[in-house]
């Protein structure tokens, strides 16, 4: 038997909890062609999937950092709620300044957290999603150290993704506390599956409750098994 609820009650969400996500994306020359096309498709899929989840659409905050060109690391657009996110169409060319891009992302994360604190907005741990298909050009060791330190002091969760044969898991692994074991290698060009996983993970994390261990979805659909 269904009992009647109390009449005329407003039920709206007054929380302002946020889950920040920074996508640090390798757009160097080696990504040109099929990889960048599929990366762009993956970003569109992420946009669509997050917009389709009412809670995640309000809570997930996205920032895209692109690296490539003439040793350029740059923010594309600005932080935005997932409901307002419009996937950029990225072009691939130039070098692989991974270190500069990660430093930029770490700075943006701390600035965003400072804005939340100032406004009294609660937030979950930010995610830094680092995707690369090649060896870094330019200095990267200090940035990797900063990134590991930030992860170890729980400032950020780091997810390095290695694309293609040119990428080096050992180098990408330097950006996270678990080293090589923390790096996922994209099987072929399964960008679609990767971004579906990312979207599902963001839905889980953005709705996680105090005291919960978050169970992330399995990565088998897009990742090769580490040996």
């Amino acid at each position: 038997m269904t009992l009647p609820a109390i009449p005329d009650v407003a039920l709206v969400d007054n929380t302002e909890q946020r889950t920040p996500l920074v996508l640090v994306l390798d757009c160097s020359g080696s990504m040109d062609g099929a990889p960048i096309a599929q990366l762009n498709e993956g970003l569109s899929l992420l946009e669509k999937e997050l917009k389709g989840d009412v809670i995640a659409a309000k809570r997930v905050r996205i920032l895209v950092v692109r690296f490539g060109g003439m040793d350029t690391a740059e923010v594309i657009g600005d932080w935005c709620d997932a409901m307002d996110f419009e996937a950029p169409v990225l072009e691939a060319n130039g070098t692989t300044p991974t270190g500069a891009a990660v430093e930029l992302a770490l700075g943006e994360i701390e600035a965003e957290k400072a804005r939340y604190k100032q406004s009294g907005i609660a937030y979950t741990r930010p995610w830094l999603f680092l995707m690369s298909d090649g060896m870094p050009t330019g200095p990267w060791e200090d940035a990797a150290q900063h990134c590991r330190d930030a992860e170890q002091s729980h400032k950020v969760a780091v997810f390095p993704i290695a694309v293609g044969e040119g990428s080096h898991a050992g180098t990408l692994g330097s950006f996270c506390g678990r080293g090589d074991a923390g790096v996922k290698r994209l099987a072929g060009l399964q960008f679609k599956e990767l971004f579906l996983w990312l979207s599902t993970s963001m839905q889980v994390v953005s709705q996680s409750q105090a005291g919960s261990q978050v169970q992330l979805p399995a990565t088998d659909s897009w990742s090769t098994v580490a040996v």
Binding site: T2, L3, P4, A5, I6, P7, D8, V9, A10, L11, V12, D13, N14, T15, E16, Q17, V54, I55, G120, A122, Y123, T124, R125, H154, V205, Q207, S208, Q209, A210, G211, S212, Q213, V214
Partner: protein
């Protein structure tokens, strides 16, 4: 001038989907014109947290009710000591239960937000998240959640350092109503700044409860917490206890 007490929990959609029990629990009692209430939220990752939240809420309310005659004579320090003793003994009892069940105490992890409120004054006692609100004529006394840096981290009575996280908030004036809620109910029960309840929710609820008996009121409250609209707001369990002064 006795308290009338309504309480309900609704299982969250993520717990429904995962086949998990409702991990929230509440208990309440009256002692003369004193109200005693507790809401506990079991940790999502702890396997027996629904047992923890039920045992902690009931044992704490019983122990405080057993000391009911002493409540009116306590000052703030006296109440802080009493709350510490009662929670310590509740926690020890839970530890014995865990040992008998060959489980870790942390498997029963739960937060505690409780109230002891008389005709003119009272106190909140609080470990972890959830919210307590006493509504006075003009304004509110609020016991806010304590989270870590991140919104999905909090503290539990089962934690080793629970005493560091025990917070006592005196309520120094009479209240027309008192609310206790788990963090799942907070997004729609509280206003944006968390300094007061959200009037478009709380006013119709209190108006309705004022006209019905406790059983009917609690059942209607349960149906309201289970409203499909809440699933657009949270996937967590939701518990709300409302006490009204006649």
């Amino acid at each position: 001038m006795a308290w009338r007490i309504f309480a309900a929990s609704a299982k969250g959609s993520s717990h429904q989907a995962g086949g998990l029990p409702c991990q929230d629990a509440s208990a309440h009692a009256r002692h003369g014109d004193w109200l005693i209430g507790v809401v506990c939220d079991g940790a999502g990752s702890a396997s027996s947290s629904h047992v923890g939240s039920t045992r902690i809420s009931h044992a704490t309310v019983q122990a405080l009710a057993a000391r009911g005659d002493a409540l009116a004579g306590l000052d703030d320090a006296g109440f802080a000591q009493l709350a510490g003793e009662v929670l310590e003994s509740t926690r020890s009892e839970l530890a014995r239960h865990a040992e008998a069940a060959r489980a870790e105490l942390s498997a029963f992890a739960a937060t505690v937000v409780g109230v002891v409120m008389g005709p003119r004054h009272g106190w909140f006692f609080h470990v972890g998240d959830g919210v307590g609100v006493a509504q006075h004529e003009e304004d509110c006394s609020v016991s806010l959640p304590e989270n870590g840096e991140y919104a999905n981290e909090t503290f539990f009575l089962t934690g080793a350092n629970w005493r560091e996280h025990l917070r006592i908030t005196p309520i120094s004036r009479p209240a027309r109503s008192v609310l206790l809620m788990s963090d799942g109910a907070m997004p729609f029960v509280m206003a944006k700044d968390n300094r007061s309840p959200y009037a478009p929710f709380v006013e119709p609820v209190e108006r309705f409860l004022a006209q019905v008996d406790e059983d009917a009121g609690s059942q209607a409250l349960a149906a309201t917490l289970d409203d499909p609209r809440t699933r657009q707001i949270t996937s967590d369990d939701k518990t709300l206890l409302i006490a009204l002064r006649d």
